[in-house]
């Protein structure tokens, strides 16, 4: 089979592959936002992405090329409660389509009722994100990251730790999966394995691409798509007065981005002065940012700047859901950091010594604040929120 040949080649020429990948990554891309035309050398070229205008091609791991069959399998798995220990939760329990694949809770709640320290992140455009979660630089690939919600125990999310054999048995017992696995992993590869499960889920997640908001229409020349307030908000967003774009720039409104031909993988984590409980920059445990992973004190309070696409439907905000509305988020940044006057988290975030240099008082007028919020609301892609391709496939039959 063709697939087997390709794999044998991959093993035999491992070093060559590394070189090819490096070469591809280093190729010049004339305009970062230019529509990436499939080139014969990219592994993504066989798959039809149906990308929004101007969107580049996502990077896909060499050992998990995209296919429609894999996406369909992944979609079934994503919505399947067999993927939790007690059969009550699926990936979609915390990543809901109408919330841009985030949820409405301040912090996630897992299948056993345990609360996650941080909020569920939106999966919109996750294919473009080389760092996947709020505060773990080690989480770089969806195939790998899926193991944390599946098997993690601190906190328990899906609660599958120690149940890997049972998970595979449950999946094998579903008739519909026989067809889906055979189509997604043809030939002798069609086995129900943990690797195939995470590969298929990752393939589905990579299709969750959102780029058809009013703002996108406006950028394509449909001037009426944004009202005057949102247009003023856009100008402010990209102005030095607010510096928003430094951390939320680019087509996906985040500095942590990668795509085919980008050349440089960018991963950023920032301390935004949300807390300062000891005057030395401390954030309340266990949400100390990437410090909790790197053990580097300089990393205290550093979190990923999430994409702002669909931000209006993913309230409440920040890694711990501690800000309820977009208006209050603007107030936090306008003040150059949040001040908490009383309680265990009291402190002046604006004085956080580890704060990003771009977080500083803005002096926004009330109208300017309203304009910024109007702009942020223009990033909601209602097509994406209701796209039947991303909906629960178990409900439709």
């Amino acid at each position: 089979m063709r697939r087997h040949k390709r794999r044998a080649l991959a093993i035999a020429t491992g070093f060559t592959l590394v070189a090819v990948v490096a070469w591809q990554a280093g190729r010049a891309q004339p305009r970062p936002r230019a529509a990436a035309r499939p080139s014969p050398a990219t592994n993504a070229q066989a798959y039809r992405w149906n990308l929004p205008p101007g969107f580049p091609t996502p990077v896909v791991p060499d050992n998990n090329p995209m296919s429609e069959a894999k996406v369909q399998l992944g979609r079934h798995l994503f919505y399947d409660t067999r993927l939790s220990g007690n059969r009550t939760f699926s990936c979609a329990s915390c990543h809901k389509q109408d919330r841009a694949f985030a949820d409405a809770l301040p912090r996630g709640v897992g299948s056993t009722g345990e609360m996650h320290p941080r909020g569920s992140m939106s999966l919109a455009n996750i294919a473009y994100s080389p760092a996947l979660t709020w505060a773990n630089p080690l989480m770089k690939q969806l195939e790998q990251q899926a193991l944390v919600p599946m098997f993690g125990e601190d906190p328990v999310e899906l609660g599958l730790s120690g149940l890997d054999a049972e998970l595979l048995a449950r999946v094998r017992s579903e008739a519909r999966y026989r067809t889906l696995f055979a189509a997604a992993f043809p030939g002798s590869d069609s086995a129900v394995t943990l690797q195939h499960i995470t590969q298929a889920i990752a393939s589905f997640q990579r299709t969750l691409i959102s780029g058809r908001s009013p703002y996108d229409a406006y950028k394509r020349g449909v001037k009426m798509a944004l009202n005057a307030s949102a247009r003023r908000g856009e100008e402010l967003f990209f102005a030095e007065k607010t510096e928003c774009f430094h951390c939320h720039g680019g087509f996906n409104f985040t500095g942590t981005v990668n795509y085919v031909g980008k050349g440089f993988v960018e991963v950023e984590f920032h301390n935004t002065g949300l807390y300062n409980i000891d005057g030395k920059g401390a954030y309340p445990a266990p949400n100390t940012g990437i410090e909790a992973v790197t053990n580097n004190p300089e990393d205290m309070g550093k979190f990923k700047a999430p994409s702002l696409r669909n931000i209006a439907v993913t309230a409440p905000y920040m890694h711990d859901g501690s800000i309820a509305t977009l208006e209050e988020v603007i107030e936090h940044y306008n003040a150059g950091g949040r001040t908490i006057r009383t309680g265990p988290h009291a402190g002046v975030g604006a004085d956080n010594p580890l704060k990003s240099e771009f977080i500083r008082p803005m002096g926004l007028t009330p109208q300017e604040k309203r304009d910024l919020v109007a702009f942020l609301r223009s990033l909601t892609d209602t097509t994406f929120l209701h796209d039947p391709r991303f909906a629960n496939p178990w409900r439709t039959k």
Binding site: F15, V21, P61, Q144
Partner: protein, 305 residues
């Protein structure tokens, strides 16, 4: 199984960069190697470890604990010969317990409180070493670096156990002992020991595994005066917890110790393993591993396996 998995380019590079499976420089030619069995026992003080059994007088607060897991990985086995020289002993691959790099010891049998475990037990490590008389043994607790950070979904045994995945640190738990400890009000709450490499960072490229860990946490164990025929390596939970208060947990940290440098609950455990930690309870902390005569150590079921 391992070779048939789909490799990423980074993974192939990592495998090719790892040491070739050639004999260590100080090893004898393969035809003169003999199989040697290194026996382990899990105890709680003088008692054999058993899933779900309650053990009294544990730690500084004399708590009662009931454990629901007890497993660890070892690698880099060495033997000390009559001349006092250290000789590398090659791991003998024994599916599913050991491959050429790493071996799993498993003292839980999936009964009772250990229901998320595996029924099979493993209380020995098989190695190949030059024939001779040995008086000491040494090994490293954990998974070697070049095997610790691969694709968790593509691992063969013994690294394929999801309970020992440490996904958020892109590696494996080296030692896992889960417990519930009685509290002041007699309720029991979780207190776990999850040892593994922490503070791991990597290159920024899309798929790369960690390239270094500030806290590798691979404990080096050396046992002198060890007779392979009559002695066993004892892993004693009571000794591991001797300087820990399992009725308390530092607020806003993992229940027990998940290897965080800022978790004071790790101090006694790390000292017991000979590992550095900011809250270490010092060099006189009783050690988790010790040598003992096999005849003096009770086993839960009297069997070796």
């Amino acid at each position: 199984m391992f070779l048939t998995s789909l490799f990423t380019a980074a993974r192939v590079a990592a495998v090719l960069a790892s040491p070739l499976p050639s004999p260590a420089p100080d090893a004898a030619p393969a035809d003169s190697l003999v199989p040697i069995t290194l026996r382990f026992r899990a105890t709680v003080g003088a008692e054999a470890f058993q899933c779900g059994k309650s053990y009294a007088d544990i730690g500084t607060s004399h708590a009662a604990v009931t454990a629901s897991d007890f497993r660890f990985y070892v690698h880099d086995i060495r033997l000390v010969n009559a001349k006092g020289d250290t000789v590398r002993a090659a791991l003998a691959p024994v599916a599913p317990w050991a491959d050429k790099d790493v071996a799993l010891l498993d003292f839980e049998d999936a009964t009772g409180a250990c229901s998320n475990g595996t029924p099979e037990l493993r209380q020995e490590v098989s190695v190949l070493a030059p024939a001779g008389t040995y008086h000491g043994v040494a090994f490293a607790l954990g998974v070697p670096f070049n095997r610790n950070h691969g694709d968790l979904t593509a691992q063969g045994a013994p690294l394929s156990i999801s309970r020992l995945f440490w996904s958020w640190n892109a590696g494996h738990k080296f030692l896992r002992i889960d417990m519930r400890a009685t509290q002041g009000d007699s309720a029991a709450s979780a207190w776990v020991v999850h040892l593994g490499s922490a503070g791991c960072t990597g290159a920024s490229s899309a798929a790369s595994a960690p390239t270094q860990c500030t806290n590798a946490n691979r404990a080096q164990v050396q046992l002198a005066n060890f007779d392979l025929a009559s002695d066993v390596v004892v892993a004693d939970l009571a000794a591991l917890l001797a300087r820990s208060d399992v009725r308390k947990n530092q607020p806003q940290t993992a229940a027990g110790c998940m290897s965080a440098p800022n978790d004071v609950d790790c101090g006694g455990l790390f000292a017991s393993l000979g590992l550095a930690h900011p809250s270490s309870t010092g060099a006189d902390t009783p050690r988790f591993f010790r040598a003992a005569k096999a005849s003096a150590v009770r086993t839960a079921n009297g069997s070796d396996r």
